[in-house]
Chain length 417, copies 2
């Protein structure tokens, strides 16, 4: 099956927001074995939207839209899709009820606009929206040039948190039914090896490979390898993927922290919970990013006791008991300070694990001796004291902070797994 | 003038990389007064690329492409563009010379592939590439349906660092010559009012408005209003936008924190730095997100002293001096605890401002009395003690945490502005 991803929204054409739905949906559609042929973006304009839907159906079986389902005047995806697919909007009472419930839970007044959201194509399949008020839906029609064949359109709301969850919970299972082949894949997450190196060491298994496909990706400091097989049965595809993952494991096993595309923070949080280990952290250059990422996982309150962001030297001394002499002699960004911070947070919290980070995130504040990008991570657990030095000549504040945070998760993972 | 941004590359359709060129070019084209009508992405396929160029010219004057200019087999933008625009590739000796120089500077051997990069359309205008080997170019043709008018295509390499620099240095000046109108816009950022309400209260100024255009957007807990005017002179456009912003200000001024599309965290950080106010924070449910967002702004170390993430009750008592009786009597998620946390962090840090947050982020952990989504924010500054209660019946952990964090910035902003 061939698909077009069609994004609707004038704000995209203005460049006000980055279109993250498209890259997400591209990965997901490819993952269920659907070929993505085009990405189209149009503004909030019925004629151009209708024209691009028809253009998509010229060589695609399915169109996935995001955006334009909201309650305001410029949202016109539903009307336009009805027009193209030969249907009309009717009130869906069950959807109206659920919107009413949602609004009353918010203690919000139901407006004309909210009622409009329960208007959906008469013969559509509804995808309920558990994270917003605009439901999604799917609709089909006969291919006008080949009435034996069907064409589908699935419409989802634009906000990424709503679109991604609706896709995962509702649209993906529906697509898996539609797709003819079985696609199975693993997303192997790695840290500590760059994409070029990854590709080089995996070359013997990548080269000439048609199924399973093996592809490497780099994203925000970590790298991943996607192994995918499309076969006529799920069993065959699974066997092919498992065999290939085994080969890859032998080559890069030491860098792998997940086979399921998980975030490092979630992997570590789950591991801490599973092992019943408590943890506290002392952060400087990451400014709370580590604690924020760790506490992203529900239930982590059983393990995470406290985090202290000691931005000033005084805070490092007062909160963590870092010695003023250490700061004077070695500086705030040093192995000695990192270790005293980790020991300090372990002492004040009484947690099993104490972890710390201190560094120069940039873009300014570096010296020849201590350049921007220099980071030390301290780790104390079970009588063991460790420090990791990161020295990357990168001026980008956001990238340095992110990499330092990931390195903290890596240090914990490698020590407790 | 109307433009299509056309991205070429199968890797985009696989979702291997996020298309950042498109959002960048959209902003830039709008800024020079060119309307972006479509974003199209096609794979490395000559037929589909040619088809989408022709589709673009159906209602656009100009097509901007990125990608497919490289030296490898799958790069076929140049050939396809020549075919559509009625031209052919010829060797440009000056370009060949500059590629040779570049390669010898890198001590790299000139290959057949590198030579191929000096093949460009015979009547094109060349955009030299100072950051890579593939040059860009622009080409025109007569509009087949209206030979009085011209149609343009500009082709740039795909790597964002090459595309953005080529655009800024070479393509933008060329476009400014072509464009007839001036566009001016403001992005008004608001917090505390939903998109539906925003549209309702702004209806009198939105309705029937053609220039300036006024459009509302919702993104991740905050909302924004974009006011844009396109006139024959920049002065006229600015006057029209200023007048409209004044009208909007009268209606929703209390919700506005930026007229330039900034993040709330950056606005507050700048304000703190400008006023020379120091701040420390005590977070529970946001787990460090507030501190992480605040420290995203370079230079904030002058104002931000420390942040403490007190996830456990014990940490709240030990680190912030919250009274055990308060926790017993009112619970960790209460006005009383929030205020003691804010007072506590102000006391231990000695900062001018102490801010705290405690709440139930979810998805679990709520009770009938204290449901998921209940959040208290404490604020202490200059003898003033305040608490804000947020009560949204939302189960989504990420959204609750994000909204609580934004509310903290809002509370600071409203108190110190």
């Amino acid at each position: 099956m061939r698909a077009t991803i069609l994004s609707v929204g004038t704000e995209l054409l203005f460049g006000q927001i980055t279109n993250t739905n498209t890259v997400y949906l591209s990965r997901k559609l490819n993952a269920v074995g659907i070929d993505v042929m085009y990405h189209f973006t149009v503004g909030d304009n019925p004629e151009r939207l209708a024209d691009m839907i028809e253009r998509s159906f010229k060589d695609c079986d399915i169109v996935i839209t995001t955006g334009g389902l909201g309650p305001t005047q410029d949202d016109m995806t539903k009307e336009t899709v009805c027009h193209v697919m030969g249907d009309s909007l009717v009130m869906h009472d069950d959807i109206l009820d659920s919107i009413k419930k949602r609004m009353s839970a918010y203690k919000a007044v139901m407006t004309e606009n909210n009622i409009k959201q329960a208007l959906l194509p008469s013969r559509c399949m509804v995808f309920a929206n558990d994270f917003g008020t605009a439901p999604g839906f799917a609709l089909d029609r006969r291919n006008p040039h080949n009435p034996e064949k069907k064409q589908w359109i699935a419409c989802m709301p634009g906000p990424p948190n709503e679109a991604t969850r609706m896709f995962e919970g509702k649209v993906q299972p529906w697509l898996e039914e539609l797709a003819e082949d079985s696609l199975v894949y693993k997303e192997i997450m790695t840290f500590g090896i760059g994409e070029s190196d990854l590709e080089t060491v995996l070359l013997p298994v990548i080269n000439g490979q048609t199924d399973p496909t093996v592809a490497t990706y780099a994203k925000d400091g970590h790298t991943s390898v996607r192994v995918a097989s499309k076969r006529s049965t799920k069993h065959e595809a699974e066997a092919a993927v498992t065999e290939m993952v085994g080969k890859i494991d032998k080559i890069i096993g030491q860098y792998i922290y997940s086979y399921e595309g998980e975030e490092y923070s979630n992997v570590v949080a789950s591991l801490l919970m599973k092992k019943g280990l408590s943890i506290s952290c002392a952060e400087s250059c990451t400014g709370g990013m580590f604690a924020a990422a760790l506490t992203d996982t529900p239930g982590i309150s059983d393990c995470f006791d406290r985090g202290i962001v000691t931005y000033s030297n005084r805070a490092k001394i007062e909160e963590l008991g870092v010695k003023p002499e250490t700061l004077n002699l070695y500086g705030a960004v040093s192995e000695e300070t990192a270790i005293e911070m980790a020991e300090g947070i372990k002492n004040v919290s009484g947690s099993d694990i104490g972890i710390s980070v201190t560094g120069i995130a940039g873009p300014d504040g570096g010296t020849e001796e201590k350049p921007v990008g220099l980071v030390y991570i301290g780790f104390v657990y079970n009588g063991k004291v460790e420090c990791r030095k990161i020295s990357r000549n990168i001026k980008d504040r956001a990238r340095n902070r992110k990499y330092a945070m990931l390195s903290m998760f890596d240090m914990i993972y490698k020590n407790i797994y």
